[in-house]
Symmetry: C2
Subunit: 265 residues, 2 copies
């Protein structure tokens, strides 16, 4: 642990748990013999999640795992909850519903302790819903597998651990480029990051590296010359001109400050 903020590993869902486990290995390498908190709070029915990760991480030598589940916001103030997060080397948010994470732990001591773990150099990771919630403003709902209609997007305040980005997951698998374009059309200040299944970005300081079997799509609206997002009726298709798109595969990197990708090495 150092005084510099730690890495954030953001996974597009369905990371491999019994094969090469490329992504979980990246988590394991940063946890070692430390304590990893598996936060299953995104799920309404968390049974089974913890067991699956205990098995997958156990085989990678990470054996000090503790589950964090929050039924009601009140529980975030209990001593038991504090003890779960105390001295954790990292926190891993599993999948489910991103609104459950933000509504149950937002503005509570749990959120503050997660930030503290990150600040003092620990790892924060999340998959699927646990990935979306890393955004400042997060995608909650929006159509998949069709072009984006203006009124068809729900957003909510996320945990904001990575500023000025919107993250979407299960990206190519669920055909979500339309809704991510809809999100960045609303304000090109934010950078859209779409992460495929079994694929992750490892964010450290102002850049990230891609790890995994799929690709990461970066959608940059800085040079957009036109969009109809504020004018068109809700049922109309989005129109947006001049988006810059990068498709970034395993080992490639991206600089979040300059908004430029570069190849490994």
């Amino acid at each position: 642990m150092t005084d510099a903020p730690g890495p954030i590993i953001v996974i597009g869902g369905h990371e491999d748990k019994d094969g090469d486990r490329l992504i979980l290995k990246e988590v394991a390498a940063r946890i070692g013999k430390g304590k990893l908190v598996i936060a299953t709070v995104a799920s309404h029915e968390p049974e089974g999640y913890f067991d699956a990760y205990q098995k997958a991480f156990g085989a990678l030598g990470v054996t000090n795992l503790v589950e964090l589940y929050v039924n009601e916001r009140d529980e975030t103030r209990s001593t038991a909850t504090r003890e779960i997060l105390a001295d954790a080397a990292g926190v891993f948010f599993t999948g489910g519903d991103q609104l459950r994470i933000s509504s149950q732990i937002g503005d509570t001591p749990v959120e503050e302790m997660v930030r503290e773990i990150h600040r003092r150099g620990g790892l924060v990771a999340g998959t699927s819903a646990g990935a979306s919630v890393m955004s400042e403003t997060m995608l909650v709902r929006g159509s998949s597998g069709e072009s984006h209609r203006i009124g068809d997007l729900n957003m909510a305040p996320g945990l904001g651990l990575i500023p000025a980005v919107i993250i979407d997951q299960h990206f190519a698998e669920r055909g979500r480029i339309g809704r991510l374009l809809g999100a960045i059309a609303q304000n090109p200040r934010v950078l859209g990051i779409g992460i495929d299944e079994d694929t992750a970005i490892i964010v450290h300081k102002e850049s990230f590296k891609v790890v995994g079997a799929g690709a990461v799509y970066v959608v940059d609206g800085a040079d957009v010359t036109h969009s109809n997002v504020a004018e068109a009726r809700r049922a109309e298709s989005l129109s947006i001109f001049g988006v810059r798109l990068h498709v970034i595969a395993n080992d490639d990197c991206f600089d979040l400050t300059t908004r430029r990708p570069h190849v490994a090495g």
Copy 2:
């Protein structure tokens, strides 16, 4: 009929046949009382296609419809086939397999007569497979709903009625941005055009207009700074940096010469 080349209407599949019929109306407006040839050659089992279009176009006042089907290339040289295309105001290619169109009519008198109809100002239209075949080099196969893997793309010579483009259809619905990016990575000289279902581009001279319920994605690789398409192994994910992407909705236009979109009016 004039001496200037006619319009080409390229449809992303599943165009509305019994509601507003926005796209078929555009076809009807250009055919009127003329003869429209419904070319069902893309299908291995063409039964039913012609009847469906006869019904849909009949309600729009286009009543002079004739079916063109080609079982074997030999038939393209028959007098009966010539008579079907003679004096046609337009030809409409229905869906199926784009390789059936190119392999059955490529380099035959049928292809030449279709070009002649276009040259003398007639309409050429195509939906789904009939859309893909308008490209110079056409997409034949490639994964949908996942990111593009280098080796996972089959292309073939199309009819080339629209030069220097690659057209894909059922675009957002089948999550095909990955394979279109893979195609333009191979040679950014060609412009990628992905057309949603119930959506069309009306190409005239050097520009097109979008009509329909969905969107059209234009993928321009002119400024690409890096791709791994020639280096990576076949199972690896495509990596491509610096693509320009335009999402173009109903009424918006695109200039194929300058590669720039513009809004209606």
